[in-house]
Symmetry: C2
Subunit: 492 residues, 2 copies
């Protein structure tokens, strides 16, 4: 089991996962019978049953009684309402962080309904179990552990992570993994590892504001590429931009993009990775929501298609298991040495109590069950809240139909200024994340990201209704003002 | 007790600490009697006893039986052998990190005697008590705690820290404290908060290599100022450099400087702070070793003399309580808003399990007792190891007599190349920190920092003897080579 080697049943599950991803096994196909597989691979029936059970737990196959295991159908294609926006092709300096900071600071008050927050409700997480795992792990701590693996991360946690990658059909190099202070640090270190001040980085449009903040902090220039609310990065546009500019890196979220919720198909991910490899441009892949797919199977990361260490895959436990523990990681491909150096220089290491608690929790085996429950809770709430929005917001509002996660992205009618909506909502005790945060040129002025990851918070429904009323009032007064100016202009 | 207010006895102790620092109460002075103080302050005798007890615990006063409490004499002035080096006055680009990284990586092997390490022996720390404190704290955790104070830090820990500052006579502004991933992150954030790429930063000579790495990462230029092995930064030289250059910041360690162990006197600290305030240059104060003074009293930070928020004071628990927990902080003066923004952008927050464990440990009250034991153990070992060095190393070796901490700084005879010594020592299973790491222009080629913070490690004495033998051999072969070349030159 040392060095990330898989058990027999895990190896079998990993091989089948790859076969499904590569289309050798298609939705609706029956898996080979247990007896067949036993004979072909020379393994015992219990090994096969365990492997098929794993595939079932990962949502890749389903049992049909008295018939066998079948590859599950793909989740239905989604058709969210907002259209992909077409950004300017020029490189831009970035200065969004002051605005972002003010807005995010304003959402810290626990008395405010947290629809602008980045985190789902902390009550969704197994905090007690994690704490108990931490107690057990710290009891076994040998003193030398606290410093020997400080920079690269606890060996046990790194090994567990590597096994999870392997089980998802993503084999990693032995020393490719660096544990970090959340995904935020991983992304920042990876970005700095492959860029120099003044370089151009391609980001999505709209994009997660932390990407904009990172570019701003490192004095990088942004070029935005259109991102389809269902299909993710528009590859044709990307190709054009790669021809137009000398690009140092791309920072994308191929899985459950923030704020859109788009998931790129495996085919498009493979095309993306190949396109960037041809251009010699590293891909920084932000995959923090990858475990929060609503149904079907875990979407593979773009990293699954990386052949030459060109993809720096970043993720964390902050959104799916342990908020506040600040444990993330980068699988940094051939850039790992530089990432490790930067990690040593910027924060030296990652909290050992946090790392050991999570490693212990993962080994004890309740993580996948927790994830299933979490996905169920978030998905149900996302659909419910989406219907609330459709009923409460003014006509002309469009809202995404994301493939998971806990965000909704709204395009309000053209008369409604989302920043003004944010201000009035804050006055009413409700935070939101206005669209201007999600673009270097503050383009999304009529857009809004809502966090609907608070299934048990009784304040959410009244808050959504209040937001709808404010949006309607803003639309009406703006139309009136425009009409008034027009009338005034006519009279002069 | 909210908002950092002190108890009556703490307030009294704080006032007396200031009086001692400002020279109103001199070494040998008797404190006012308990009765006098009761009358003058309108407090109870037990309040006065508690206050005097605190001053005694902090090493500021001593009891003389049947006489009273007296201000303790200053620790004797130290006269370490190496002289202050005179650095070049020009600004330099920095590129030391690749070398530093290779050397530091090579010290990670637990089989290597860690004389090049940055940490003292982990067995010196109350790791079990911390773990138990963590268990208690996590049991009381309310879910919303994990995210509400994510960026600025846990309110309980910040309050406890603020009280410790106040007890040391350093009042902080209410929101000046930001919790960070160790002091390393605090220092990096503070440096970035007050500089832009290309700016000049004054550092000490020799300086802690992390300062050089931070400058390199942020593309800053270094100007080095001479630092006296006993008295710290040479203020006259500093003043000249401030007139010569446009300086964005100074990064100094006024307490137990790494690698020299120098402690600036309160008077010189005050002069330093006033000088920098006159020039409008922020001081980034690295105070991670401040608690490890060998005898006497805790040296005040330069921050104690800061009147206008110009000093960004950085410290952590990593060297004095909880290595591997990665909890540090910055008291960032008037730059706190910018530091907070950068913190949000680079790592979002600090591990809550680590923060809560330490906060709980501090509240339960064993910290000062632990510090006394730690100081005693480190100081005894430092003196013992210093005598070992004097016996084992070749004639002409000079070694500092630090005022605390766990480092020795050696100046080897001019024939001995310390980098070559490092390489040969590594081959013999002993790590060292060669002097070239401690200067932007790799000036300290005959110098060596030794970590002697491993009192119970039986490998230390043989390792010191081995190092001495290697140094002697290197000196002899180098002398021979030079002599040989000279003879060869004469014969041609």
């Amino acid at each position: 089991m040392a060095n990330g080697e898989l058990n027999r049943h895990e190896q079998l599950a990993s091989d089948l996962t790859q076969a499904i991803r590569e289309g050798l096994l298609k939705p609706g196909d029956r898996l080979p019978s247990v007896r067949e597989t036993c004979q072909r691979r020379g393994v015992s029936p219990s090994t096969v049953f365990q492997a098929y059970g794993l595939l079932q737990a990962h949502g890749l196959v389903e049992v049909r009684p008295r018939s066998g295991f079948y590859v599950r159908p793909q989740p239905r294609p989604l058709r969210p309402a907002p259209q992909a926006a077409v950004p300017k092709p020029e490189a831009m300096d970035v200065s969004v962080s002051a605005l972002a900071f003010d807005i995010l600071e304003s959402t810290r008050d626990p008395g405010v309904v947290p629809l602008g927050s980045a985190f789902p409700a902390p009550t969704l997480f197994p905090l007690d179990e994690l704490a108990r795992a931490g107690t057990r792990a710290m009891r076994r701590l040998r003193p030398e552990q606290v410093t020997t693996a400080l920079t690269i991360g606890d060996p046990g946690l790194r090994e567990t992570l590597r096994r999870r990658y392997a089980l998802q059909g993503v084999p990693l190099q032995p020393d490719e993994l660096v544990v970090t202070n959340g995904a935020m640090e991983a992304l920042n270190l990876c970005l700095q590892a492959v860029t120099r001040p003044g370089d151009i980085v391609i980001i999505e449009s709209p994009t997660f504001y932390a990407a904009l903040q990172a570019l701003e902090r490192l004095k990088l220039r942004a070029v935005e590429v259109a991102t389809d609310p269902a299909e993710g990065v528009v590859l044709e546009d990307l190709e054009r931009l790669l021809d137009l500019h000398t690009v140092a890196a791309c920072w994308f979220m191929p899985n459950l993009q923030n704020p859109l919720g788009a998931v790129m198909s495996p085919k498009r991910k493979r095309q993306l990775v190949e396109l960037l490899a041809r251009h010699g441009v590293p891909l920084i892949e932000d995959d923090v929501y990858g475990e929060l797919y609503a149904d079907g199977r875990r979407p593979p990361p773009a990293k699954a298609f990386d052949k030459d260490g060109n993809v720096l895959h970043c993720a964390s436990f902050s959104k799916c298991l342990a908020p506040g523990y600040r444990v993330g990681w980068a699988a940094a491909g051939r850039h790992v040495a530089q990432v490790l150096r930067l990690k040593m220089m910027t924060s030296l290491g990652t909290s050992m109590p946090s790392q050991l608690a999570i490693a212990e929790y993962l080994v004890q085996g309740g993580y996948d069950r927790h994830l299933r429950n979490l996905r169920g809770a978030l998905s149900a709430e996302q659909h419910r809240a989406r219907r609330m929005v459709e009923h409460s917001f003014p006509a002309g509002t469009r809202v995404t139909l994301p493939a998971g996660g806990y965000f909704l992205w709204l395009e309000l009618p053209p008369h409604v200024d989302a920043l003004e909506l944010h201000r009035r909502a804050m006055a009413a005790g409700i935070s939101t994340a206005p669209g201007v945060l999600f673009s270097a040129d503050r383009r999304f002025v009529h857009h809004l990201r809502l966090n609907v990851g608070h299934p048990c918070d009784p304040r959410v429904d009244p808050a959504l209704r209040t937001l709808g009323r404010i949006a309607s009032a803003l639309g009406a007064s703006q139309r009136q003002a425009t009409g008034g100016r027009r009338r005034g202009a006519g009279a002069s």
